[in-house]
C-alpha cells in the first residue's frame, strides 16, 4: 500500500503549438477521492485522457497502479473505469446490452457479466431502463449509463470527467453519494468546474489553470485561502530580518513569506482581503532607509482563478426534488 495509485511527473502535452499541459506533477493515494477543479479548457480532460491511455503525453510520465500509461497501456486500462466528458454511447443498443458488451470487453468473466450488469444498474438506478434503447434516453439517464459502464468491471481506479454534468439536482445528490461510497475501496479522480461539487465529494483538490496545477489542498483549506487574503510581492535592498519585522508590523498584514533571492530581500505579503497596503508597505520600507526595488500586486491569484469557476450550484437546485421523471 506504499505505492500511490497514480503518480504523475512533469507531464506536458501540446497540440501543435498550443501547450495544453505544462509540467504537471501530482500523486493520488489509494482509496483517495481527488478533484480536478478548473475552468473549462484548463487541462482537466487532457490530463484524464493521458491517464486512461487515450492520448499520449508529449513529455513526462504517468504511472497508474505501478504501470506506465505508455509502455503498459493494457495493464493500465484493465485497472481503470473511465467516464469521458459528454460521453458518446451506442444509440442503437439497449442499456442492458450495452453494459453487457462493455463488461465483456473490459474482461469481466463470462459467468459474472449478468451479475455485474445487474449490480451497476442498481447502483446507478437504471434497473427500469434496462430494455430501453440508449438513443431514447434523456441526458441524465445517458450520464448514468456512462457511470454504469465505468463501474461495470469493478475497477480499482475511477476517472470521471465531469460526472454530474446534465443531471438534475436530485440525480446530482445521488451521484455524489455514489462517488463518496466508492472511496476506500476505489481511488477516484473526478473533474469539475463547479467549486461546491468538488468540496462536497473530494478529500483533496487540485486546482488546474492554463495547463498547470496552481493549488493543491483539502477543500476546507482552499476555501479558507479563497476568503483569506490578497497578495503583494515586494523586493527590498536591505537586511532581510529587519525588513521582514517592519513589514509584519504593518496593520492588516496577515503573513510575510520570504522568497530567497541573492542580495535582495524578497517577500510575498498576504493581506486581509479588500485592502490595498501597497502605500503602507512603501512607507515602511522608506522609513527603514532601505531601497525599494519592486512592489506589485501578484498577477493571477488563486482567487482570480476561482472567479472564473462556477461557484454556485447549477440552476434549479431548489426545484421540486420529487420531479425527476424523465427519459423514455
Amino acid at each position: 500500500m506504499t505505492q500511490p495509485a497514480i503518480q504523475v511527473k512533469n507531464l506536458s502535452k501540446s497540440y501543435g503549438l498550443t501547450l495544453a499541459l505544462r509540467d504537471v506533477s501530482f500523486e493520488v493515494r489509494r482509496g483517495e477521492i481527488v478533484g480536478f477543479l478548473g475552468p473549462n479548457g484548463a487541462g482537466k480532460t487532457t490530463t484524464m485522457r493521458i491517464l486512461v491511455g487515450y492520448l499520449p503525453p508529449t513529455s513526462g510520465t504517468a504511472i497508474v497502479d505501478g504501470y506506465d500509461v505508455l509502455k503498459d497501456s493494457l495493464e493500465v486500462r484493465r485497472r481503470i473505469g473511465y467516464l469521458p466528458e459528454n460521453i458518446s454511447l451506442y444509440n442503437d443498443m439497449t442499456v442492458e446490452a450495452f453494459l453487457e458488451f462493455m463488461a465483456t470487453i473490459r474482461g469481466v468473466a463470462r459467468k459474472r457479466v449478468r451479475e455485474r450488469v445487474r449490480a451497476v444498474m442498481a447502483q446507478t438506478r437504471l434497473d427500469h431502463m434496462a430494455r430501453v434503447l440508449i438513443g431514447k434516453l434523456s441526458r441524465g439517464y445517458r450520464q448514468r449509463v456512462g457511470l454504469a459502464q465505468a463501474l461495470v468491471h469493478d475497477p480499482p481506479i475511477l476517472i470521471l470527467d465531469e460526472p454530474t454534468v446534465g443531471l438534475d439536482p436530485r440525480q446530482i445528490i445521488e451521484t455524489r453519494q455514489l462517488i463518496k461510497s466508492l472511496a476506500g475501496d476505489h481511488t477516484v479522480i473526478l473533474s469539475s468546474h463547479i467549486l461546491p461539487e468538488v468540496s462536497m465529494t473530494c478529500q483533496r483538490v487540485l486546482v488546474i489553470h492554463q495547463g498547470q496545477i496552481v493549488a493543491e489542498d483539502a477543500p476546507e483549506n482552499l476555501a479558507a485561502r479563497l476568503r483569506g487574503s490578497e497578495r503583494i510581492r515586494v523586493e527590498v535592498r536591505g537586511p532581510a530580518d529587519q525588513v521582514r519585522r517592519a513589514l509584519e508590523a504593518i496593520p492588516g498584514v496577515l503573513a510575510v513569506i520570504p522568497e530567497a533571492r541573492d542580495g535582495v530581500a524578497s517577500f510575498a505579503i498576504d493581506c486581509a482581503v479588500g485592502t490595498d497596503l501597497r502605500e503602507q508597505v512603501a512607507e515602511a520600507v522608506v522609513r527603514g532607509g532601505w531601497g525599494l526595488r519592486e512592489l506589485r500586486p501578484v498577477g493571477m491569484s488563486l482567487e482570480e482563478i476561482f472567479l472564473k469557476l462556477t461557484t454556485e450550484e447549477p440552476d434549479g437546485n431548489t426545484g421540486n426534488p420529487g420531479d425527476n421523471r424523465e427519459g423514455a
Binding site: 491511455g53 487515450y54 497501456s73 484493465r78 469521458p84 458518446s88 442503437d92 458488451f101 465483456t104 470487453i105
Partner: protein, 238 residues
C-alpha cells in the same frame, strides 16, 4: 488475443447492421440488381448456366461492399464512441478483427440470399454444381478482400460518405488494373496485371480454383487488416 472480445464486437456490429434501415436497403438493392441480371441471363441465353450472373455479382460487390464497411470505424470516430473502445483493455487488432468478422457475416448472409438463383435452376434442370460452388468461393474471397480494404479506409476518415467514395474508387482501380496495365507495359504492366482483382476472379466461375488466386485474396485481407490496425494504433503515440 481475446476471442471473447472479438466476438463481442462482432455481435455488437451485427446488431447495429440490422438495427438500421441502411442494411436492409443495401441487401434489397443487391438482390434486386443481381436478380435482374440472373433473369436476363437465363431468359436471353436459355442456358442453365450461372457463369455470367455470378461474374456480374462480383462487379456488383464493388458497389455494395464499400457500403458495408463505410461506417465500421468512421462512425465510431465521428460520434466519439471509439474513446470507449480504445480505453478498454483490448488491442486494436481485436477491434479490427471483430469488425471485419461482422462485415464478413453480413457478406455471407447477402451471398446466401442469392442461393435462390442456383436452387431455382436445380429445380428445373441439372446445372453443373462445380463451377457454381467455385464461383461462390471466389465471391466470398473477393468480398473478404473488399471488406478488408474498406475497413482500412474507414479507419482513415470520420466521414462515412468519404469512406464509401474512396473505398469504391480504390476497389475499382484495382479491379481495372488489367486494363491500365496495357498503358504501362513491361515490368510495371505485369505487376499491375498480377494485382488486378478481375484476373484473380475470372477463373472461379469457370470452376477453376487456383491456389495462387486464393493466396492472393487472403494476402489482400491480411494487408487491409494490418493497415487498419496500424491506423487505429497510431493514435496512441501520435
Amino acid at each position: 488475443m481475446g476471442i471473447r472480445a472479438i466476438l463481442a464486437i462482432t455481435a455488437k456490429e451485427l446488431n447495429s447492421y440490422f438495427a438500421s434501415f441502411i442494411a436492409y436497403a443495401v441487401v434489397a438493392g443487391f438482390l434486386f440488381v443481381t436478380g435482374a441480371f440472373f433473369s436476363l441471363s437465363v431468359l436471353l441465353s436459355r442456358q442453365v448456366n450461372l457463369r455470367f450472373t455470378l461474374t456480374d455479382v462480383a462487379i456488383i460487390l464493388l458497389f455494395v461492399s464499400p457500403a458495408i464497411t463505410m461506417r465500421l470505424l468512421s462512425e465510431e470516430q465521428a460520434s466519439g464512441t471509439l474513446e470507449l473502445l480504445v480505453t478498454s483493455p483490448i488491442r486494436e487488432a481485436e477491434i479490427v478483427l471483430g469488425k471485419f468478422l461482422a462485415a464478413l457475416v453480413f457478406l455471407v448472409i447477402m451471398l446466401a440470399a442469392t442461393a435462390y438463383y442456383p436452387l431455382l435452376l436445380i429445380s428445373y434442370s441439372q446445372p453443373d454444381p462445380g463451377p457454381i460452388a467455385a464461383a461462390y468461393l471466389g465471391l466470398f474471397l473477393q468480398g473478404a478482400a473488399f471488406i478488408s480494404l474498406g475497413l482500412f479506409i474507414s479507419a482513415l476518415t470520420r466521414n462515412q460518405v468519404v469512406a464509401y467514395i474512396f473505398t469504391f474508387g480504390l476497389l475499382l482501380i484495382i479491379w481495372l488494373f488489367e486494363a491500365i496495365s496495357g498503358i504501362f507495359g513491361g515490368q510495371v504492366g505485369s505487376i499491375l496485371s498480377s494485382l488486378a482483382f478481375y484476373n484473380h476472379f475470372v477463373d472461379f466461375p469457370k470452376g477453376v480454383v487456383d491456389t495462387k488466386d486464393v493466396v492472393f485474396y487472403i494476402s489482400v485481407v491480411v494487408f487491409g487488416l494490418v493497415l487498419a490496425e496500424r491506423v487505429l494504433e497510431s493514435r496512441r503515440w501520435r
